[in-house]
């Protein structure tokens, strides 16, 4: 199992029955592949649909039906389409139970940076600021380090996406929950030590006497 798959499988365990969920582009999209059996999740895409499914067979794609990354999808029975104002009313209005987003950095307060690297990469925030400000639960799915450099840091060096702390950080090494008193190490990946997680983290972690192993 590679790192991305491990992260996606662990995030999928946070899904609950009969909830509305938005998955960001990239790694978060993989979460849809690991929805636990017996759970019905409604996936929203911010370009205006609830209930999209897998890409149709080659040559049968509908040019009017994509996800927010522009990839072709299908509409599952019961799907609903709507305009962008409705889509973001769902996101900001407390109707979206959970969003899963990628991250460039998360600081000790749980503040996320994921929309630009000044002078290098300015893709724009798209829907990320609305998602982090508005979703009931915000889960960051990312690698613990980038080329060995910690992505969980004391202070953000990149522009913040929102001043609202995220709910949970899931990496290839650990599951970490931002709390008012600090970042709590909840789980470590199989074969990874608490010391290794600490060494790969750029800020202090709160560690209880016993730390669970990530169930993946």
């Amino acid at each position: 199992m590679n790192a991305k798959e491990r992260i996606a499988r662990r995030v999928a365990l946070e899904l609950h029955d009969e909830t509305l969920v938005n998955l960001g582009i990239g790694l978060p999209t993989l979460v849809a592949s690991y929805v636990p059996a017996g759970i019905r999740v409604y996936f929203q895409s911010e370009n205006g649909i609830i209930g999209f499914g897998a890409r149709p067979p080659e040559g049968m794609e509908d040019v009017h039906l994509t996800d927010a990354g522009g990839a072709f999808v299908s509409a599952l029975p019961g799907a609903v389409s709507f305009d962008s104002a409705m889509s973001f009313a769902l996101i900001r209005g407390g109707h979206l139970d959970m969003t899963v987003l990628g991250g460039l950095q998360v600081d000790r307060h749980g503040h996320l940076a994921n929309w630009m690297i000044p002078g290098l990469l300015v893709p724009g925030m798209g829907g990320a600021m609305d998602l982090v400000s508005g979703a009931r639960r915000v889960i960051v799915a990312m690698n613990h380090t980038q080329k060995g450099v910690p992505k969980i840091v004391d202070r953000l060096s990149l522009p913040a996406t929102s001043l609202r702390p995220v709910s949970l950080i899931v990496t290839d090494m650990a599951v970490i929950e931002p709390r008012p008193e600090g970042l709590l190490l909840r789980e470590i990946a199989p074969g990874v030590s608490v010391e290794a997680v600490r060494a790969a983290t750029g800020t202090e972690l709160l560690v209880l006497d016993t730390v669970s192993i990530m169930p993946v």
């Binding site: 649909i49 724009g124 925030m125 929102s162």
Partner: protein, 219 residues
Amino acid sequence: MRTALSPAAAADLIPDGATVMVGGFMGVGSPHRIIAALVERGARGLTIIANDTARPGVGIGKLITAGCVAKVIVSHIGTNPDTQRRMLADELDVELVPQGTLAERIRAGGSGLGGVLTATGLGTLAGQGHQVVQVDGQDYLVAPALRAAFALVAARSADYARNLVYSLTARNFNPLMAMAADTVIAEANEVVPLGVLAPDAIHTPGILIDHLIERPRMT
């Protein structure tokens, strides 16, 4: 009943330097025939208000690559390296707005509202220079209404009264923009007689559309 315009005639209505809203999300639901006509005309200095600039050679990306655009007000440009290159070379002014805020600013512009209050962007670069107000002890950014001289929208179906029905995720910003411009021009994949589109099914009332683009001439 008003007659339909050719894409070229529509492009001639839009002067260089105009502010133009363009529907679509990564090119899905963009008015491709009007865009092609603007490129053909050699439009210059446009300010484009849209969700994104798609990719090079796709949708609004064609306007960028053809040098028709002086400024964009969009939520992201990450999928179009040409937009990023022109921004870094100071050939293109880029104003980034959170996607939900952009949608609401346009909705407000078409709804007679001065703007909306949102928590999105508070304390971030997106909030810089924006007024903050407090309602019931909660901080909000003031996001002022957006309007344009022109809106170019795309639908799946139009009838002879220019009533519009959009398709799936091609709807996105189109119905919002159809409310928020002085002159609204629509193109549709099909144009059908009155009565074919049921009143309950229509997304944008035709009375809001100033000009419909003629049906494609298929041979």
